[in-house]
């Protein structure tokens, strides 16, 4: 009796969510996988089954590999640096500091701005000769360069912006975790004569592990999901030096309208995200044990 009532009410309540999730998450996931096995329909030629041809093409596509490598570099630089900065910021703001509120706000404000706005501001800063960044570099005699226009520096220029924008966001989570550390633990450490460095290494950092894990998962997803600044600032130029995977998908899907190939590329992105999910679930258990 109760079971059947639960099924009735439960499924009615879940209906809108399930329909929407099916339409815009699961069905497209399946659709992407199926589409990746077909050619792109063009004009009068309908899509035909091509098996793994799109994947073969991907393996032979230097731009795809460029995008993968760029994304890897992008993730491996933005994530550790912004997380380390976030931790430092949180420790600074959490200590007794004059103007604590103002400092915290300074760190956090870039986070609430849309990436489009941030990208437009920095496009101005990166302008050769009169942009803020270039004028700063002129002091050291490195001025006069179009940092976004050179293959060696373009990705780095975008990495700087991402770190600037994300560090404050991650700081918030560290700050929350720091405030939950019981003061008695820190007192105990100081009574034992532990230096700040020892307390940090032996007490604070281990207690922050769950937060570090949570933040790093978010950061990895972010590194593959957010490409607004690429669209605004470089569109992948120069010579695909700033092409990230999702941007390439956007370019192939909506620039060249090659939906079959875009689907194959999306499958790779989905695999990457699934890998992160498995990693997270594997570690989620440990996190529970820890607490």
């Amino acid at each position: 009796m109760k079971a059947s009532r639960n099924v009735l009410y439960g499924s009615l309540l879940l209906l809108p969510a399930v329909v929407l999730l099916w339409t815009f998450t699961y069905q497209p996931i399946l659709g992407t996988i199926i589409d990746s096995l077909f050619s792109t329909a063009r004009g009068k030629r309908p899509a035909v089954f091509v098996g793994l041809d799109q994947y073969q093409r991907m393996i032979d596509d230097p731009v795809f590999w460029k995008a993968m490598i760029n994304n890897l570099i992008y993730a491996l630089t933005t994530i550790p640096i912004s997380m380390a900065l976030a931790l430092v910021m949180a420790l600074l703001v959490n200590s007794r500091l004059k103007g604590q509120g103002a400092v915290r706000m300074a760190y956090f404000t870039p986070t609430i701005l849309p990436m489009v706005a941030v990208a437009n501001i920095w496009l101005f800063f990166y302008a050769p000769d009169y942009g803020l960044v270039d004028r700063f570099l002129q002091i050291f005699g490195w001025g006069g360069n179009n940092l976004l226009g050179m293959p060696e520096t373009a990705l780095g220029a975008l990495i700087v912006i991402t770190i600037w924008k994300e560090a404050g966001f991650f700081m918030i989570f560290y700050l929350a975790a720091l405030q939950q550390i019981s003061p008695s633990l820190l007192e105990a450490a100081s009574l034992e004569g532990a230096s700040y460095g020892q307390t940090l290494r032996r007490v604070i950092l281990p207690l922050l592990m769950p937060t570090t894990l949570f933040v790093s998962i978010n950061a990895v997803i972010g590194a593959f999901r957010l490409v607004d600044h690429i669209i605004v600032m470089t569109k992948g130029a120069p010579d695909n030096a700033t092409t990230l995977l999702l941007f390439y998908i956007y370019q192939v899907g909506f620039g060249y309208w090659d939906t079959g190939y875009a689907a194959a590329l999306t499958v790779i992105l989905l695999l990457i995200l699934a890998l992160i999910a498995f990693f997270q679930f594997g570690y989620a258990d440990k996190k529970v044990h820890y607490r």
């Binding site: 879940l14 399930v18 998450t25 996931i29 992407t32 200590s95 404000t109 918030i172 998908i249």
Partner: protein, 274 residues
């Protein structure tokens, strides 16, 4: 005593470090702000005594339909927020109070969307929208986000933490399922709702890629896409106008943030930790 003596310079250094980093972090924003309020000839060279002006804003306001863009964003964000609150509350309530065989598995499936956000599937979602004829509509931008795994997850956690006794007491007094939801669960989950609301508003106010793909007209473009359309035309021509447009488009969110700073920060914390 001796320990304090040793620490003083260290504390001073930490203070200086914290402040230097803070200045480095806001300097770009302040400079953009300054540029927006000064004549364009000063964009290229900073001069503390150059005259302040609202000219840039006036020109930007007339050069592109920013009022319309703001309106679009407002409608979009409100639609998403209201629908998300209703849909996610219903789903979370079902998972907590009406569990059935397979509902746990279903919940795990829902969580997939935490990892795979709708914008990752933009090619397929674009096709779906075009099939149902909702391209270039505000509803079309909103639809993929209306059922949020994050919202369902967050509300479920909160509902689960509410003592069973409260629910039973309400039932004994003759309250039906809907009344229990609206009189017991929702009021007790208010902090979570506020936290979720702030997170979702800032996310969708700032969202860009998906609206860029879906919209194609002034009537539907949110402010982020509108800003980009404007900036693409002006770039390299007049930086004062671009920064003025940027400042203009972020102003409502930044002002709201400055006013409700504490709630914002706490909400982000609360939404994140659980």
């Amino acid at each position: 005593m001796s320990a304090d003596y040793r620490k003083k310079p260290v504390i001073a250094l930490t203070h200086i470090g914290a402040w230097l980093l803070a200045i480095l972090w806001v300097l770009p924003l302040l400079y953009a702000f300054w540029t927006a309020f000064h004549p364009s000839e000063f964009a290229a060279r900073f001069d503390l005594f150059s005259p302040w002006t609202l000219d840039n804003f006036e020109r930007v306001w007339h050069a592109a339909p920013f009022a319309r863009y703001f309106f679009n964003t407002f409608v979009l964000v409100s639609t998403i927020l209201i629908c998300q609150l209703v849909i996610c509350t219903m789903a979370a309530y079902a998972f907590v109070c009406f569990p059935f065989r397979g509902s746990d598995a279903l919940f795990m499936l829902v969580l997939v969307q935490l990892m795979i956000m709708p914008e990752v599937l933009l090619v397929e979602n674009y096709r779906t929208l075009s099939k149902i004829g909702l391209l270039d509509t505000t509803l079309g931008i909103a639809l993929p986000y209306l059922a949020s795994a994050f919202g369902i997850f967050l509300f479920r956690q909160t509902f689960k933490s509410i003592p069973k006794e409260l629910e039973e007491a309400a039932r004994l007094e003759g309250a039906n399922g809907l009344q229990i939801l609206l009189r017991v669960f929702v009021p007790l989950a208010k902090p979570t709702y506020i936290a979720y609301g702030l997170v979702t508003v800032s996310y969708h106010w700032n969202n860009f890629l998906w609206p860029l793909v879906v919209t194609n007209s002034v009537e539907t473009r949110p402010i982020t896409v509108g800003l980009q359309v404007f900036a693409t035309i002006e770039q390299g021509i007049d930086w004062s106008l671009v920064t003025a447009a940027t400042v203009l488009s972020v102003a409502p969110l930044v002002v709201a943030f400055l006013l409700f700073q504490r709630q914002f920060v706490q909400s982000f914390m609360r939404a994140g930790i659980r």
